[in-house]
């Protein structure tokens, strides 16, 4: 046995020593879903750069990244390190609900705010009638988008039958599907086929053939663009012409490349924002992002990472301190903060109340359809 403790470290919760405020980022930088974590990190870094031009309360934000290797135990090690070793003021992360949930206990017991940009599972912030008061998120929770999609399918597209194709390794996908299904069937629609895949799959022909056989009028695919792009492409190749719909997970310029412009026609998504949105806030973000990352268009992960950074910066500003507990209070009181993905207000379960938009893909462009308020 060795591992001698090198730094004893004081007990004081001073994350703002030396004119810096340390913010941890516990993200999936390697492993299975490395691309999510890396996108979020890019968004955060861009935001920090901007924020640090002025500073927060006269201090600069310093990002302390941690790679949780897309693995829950690693995420815990990371959270432990960030709280006890680096003594950060808050943690941003993780990208997935599972790796976020793994950190909850540590955030709670160390009283350090944990903000997940993209962990959409309902029970991240609120579980068994109990609020995890140190846990926050920047994204919607699943039921909202699922409901919006069901309403849209029934009322706008006027379809009666639908198939659902979910990523069963993702709470996000399952959550959306569940709420979609509930509303869709309640209001008279019929689910004719449910199929599933697992993230990182590349071949969906078998399931799509089954879906085709069930002849649905509408296909709901609440997944992430990496798979959805291929699904849409393969579905069209197999001759599925029905409208398809998904959610914010689709939002990435890569989707268009993966699926192909033609295949994407007659597909819809619900989203936080539209990168084609004329809103100056959005346009500025897109411009800044492209400038920093060699002309790459931002995806939803980039945007949510970016927003998460602003979300925290705002709270620190209002708290007037880098004390994690004060930041936690400020985060909880956020109301009307203007972000790229919409105006931010938290409900009492720490879920953002944001409006959603519905977009349609037309020849590879996102066309704004409607805005839905919660």
């Amino acid at each position: 046995g060795c591992n001698s403790s090198t730094s004893g470290g004081g007990d004081s919760k001073e994350a703002d020593k030396g004119g810096e405020i340390k913010i941890g980022a516990n993200l999936e930088l390697s492993g299975g879903v490395a691309s999510y974590g890396q996108s979020i990190k890019e968004g955060i870094e861009l935001a920090f750069e901007e924020i640090n031009k002025e500073g927060v309360n006269g201090k600069k934000l310093k990002l302390v990244p941690y790679d949780n290797k897309s693995d829950a135990p690693e995420a815990i090690t990371g959270a432990t390190k960030l709280t006890s070793q680096d003594k950060v003021a808050a943690i941003i992360g993780a990208a997935t609900s599972g790796n976020t949930k793994a950190q909850i206990e540590i955030a709670q017991s160390n009283k350090v705010p944990l903000l997940t940009p993209t962990g959409t599972a309902e029970d991240v912030t609120f579980k068994n009638g109990k609020l995890n008061d140190f846990v926050f998120r920047t994204c919607f929770i699943d039921p909202f988008q699922g409901t919006v999609a069901a309403n849209f399918a029934l009322n706008e597209l006027k379809v009666k039958t639908a198939a659902i194709f979910i990523d069963s390794s993702s709470d996000y996908s399952k959550g959306l599907a569940a709420s979609f299904k509930e509303l869709f069937t309640k209001d008279g629609g019929k689910i004719v086929k449910e199929e599933a895949y697992v993230a990182k799959d590349t071949d969906f022909h078998a399931q799509l053939t089954n879906i085709k056989g069930a002849k649905p009028e509408f296909v709901f695919i609440p997944g992430y663009y990496e798979e959805v792009g291929l699904i849409v492409k393969q579905a069209r190749e197999l001759g599925i012409t029905a409208p398809m719909m998904g959610a914010d997970g689709w939002d990435s310029p890569k989707l268009i490349k993966l699926a192909g412009k033609a295949a994407l026609n007659n597909t819809f998504i619900t989203n936080h924002y539209s990168s084609g949105d004329s809103d100056p806030k959005v346009q500025e973000f897109v411009k800044a992002f492209k400038a920093k990352y060699s002309d790459k268009s931002p995806d939803a992960f980039n945007a949510l990472g970016y927003d998460s950074a602003y979300f925290i910066a705002d709270a620190i500003k209002r708290a007037g301190s880098a004390d994690p507990e004060k930041i936690q209070k400020a985060l909880a009181e956020t109301d009307g903060l203007d972000l790229v993905t919409g105006k931010m207000k938290l409900d009492d379960k720490h879920n953002p109340i944001k409006s959603a938009v519905i977009l349609e893909y037309v020849n590879g462009e996102q066309k704004f359809k409607t805005k839905v308020n919660p």
Binding site: G1, S30, A72, G98, I106, V198
Partner: protein, 324 residues
């Protein structure tokens, strides 16, 4: 008389280990060790159990099994069900975790252990993946999103499990039963011809190894708050395999040292997330290139201590390196 010396060194190590654990316990309760270090210590402990249990299968019995994460998963889930679903006490969960994994070892071992070399490897790897997929598909244990588990793993339990694992495996190895396993590793046909029931001992090593991997699973589940099938894929099995090989195939102290060292390296590298895996992979490659026989070769820690006392021949020529 050689074994007598072993016995003395053995008890000495046990006493030292107990003193060490008590000291650490004081440091933890006194708050001198912050939770990051404590967490690292816990990871080390769990990795030691995993490495030592796989050492029995690969290093001693010579069965190339690369699905160890499967047993880890079985132990983790079984124990989590005990505490979280059935609300039974943690010690029972440890035991059940071990037994469930041992049972899995038996079930998979009997048919597959007649395979050899790489075929066995791929079959065990397949087994590990099957376990993962089974848990992925059982909604009772949360499917892909997994199960949240209370933090019940404590330092004394961890240390006790580590010590028991080491003691049992040393005692097993240094007996006629362990030698039977060694003989299988050395030459299975000759072992058979000497009357060793090779199937029995292969399965036995597999079951014992799986049992402790299961115990490690229980400790793992109750240390990391959440278990998900994705934590137990073949890459996790590789991680364990790497510990055993890097330590030196056939050397238990090697496995232990590798578990300690690699966990620390990996923790240290977390300060450099962008290059973490890059450096880790380089460490692996470089270590293998410069010490293909692993850190300890086939020697044990106790052998090193004995060098001064003029060890009786034999073990000197372990670093057999054929000319290039």
């Amino acid at each position: 008389m050689k074994s007598m010396k072993h016995v003395k060194g053995f008890w000495l190590s046990i006493v030292l280990a107990i003193i060490f654990s008590v000291v650490i316990q004081f440091l933890i309760t006194g708050g001198t060790l912050n939770s990051f270090y404590v967490n690292t210590l816990f990871s080390i402990g769990i990795n030691i159990i995993l490495a030592v249990s796989l050492h029995l299968i690969i290093g001693i019995t010579g069965q190339f099994s690369i699905g160890h994460a499967g047993f880890l998963a079985v132990g983790a889930y079984a124990s989590a069900i005990i505490t979280m679903k059935l609300a039974l006490p943690f010690p029972l969960a440890l035991l059940v975790g071990g037994i469930a994994a041992a049972f899995a070892g038996l079930v998979i071992g009997i048919p597959t252990l007649r395979l050899r070399g790489d075929y066995l490897a791929i079959a065990t790897l397949g087994f590990g993946e099957i376990m993962k997929i089974v848990f992925l598909n059982i909604d009772y244990v949360g499917g892909a999103s997994g199960m949240t588990v209370s933090h019940l793993t404590t330092w004394p339990w961890l240390m006790a499990c580590v010590l028991i694992t080491i003691v049992v495996i040393i005692n097993f190895t240094n007996s006629t039963h362990g030698r039977a396993c060694l003989s299988i590793r050395e030459n299975e046909i000759a072992a058979d011809a000497m009357g060793i029931n090779t199937t029995y001992y292969k399965v036995m090593a597999f079951v014992i190894g799986a049992f402790f991997a299961g115990v490690a699973g229980a400790l793992h589940a109750h240390n990391f708050y959440i278990i998900q099938p994705a934590n137990f894929g073949f890459l996790k099995s590789f991680d364990i395999l790497i510990l055993v090989v890097l330590g030196g195939l056939g050397s238990m102290s090697g496995s232990v040292i590798a578990a300690i060292l690699l966990t620390i390296i990996s923790t240290f590298l977390s300060n450099y997330p962008e290059v973490r895996m890059l450096i880790y992979s380089l460490v692996l490659i470089v270590m293998m290139l410069f010490r293909p026989q692993g850190l300890m070769g086939t020697k044990e820690f106790t052998d090193l201590l004995k060098i001064g006392k003029g060890a009786k021949g034999g073990s000197q020529d372990v670093n057999k390196q054929t000319i290039a």
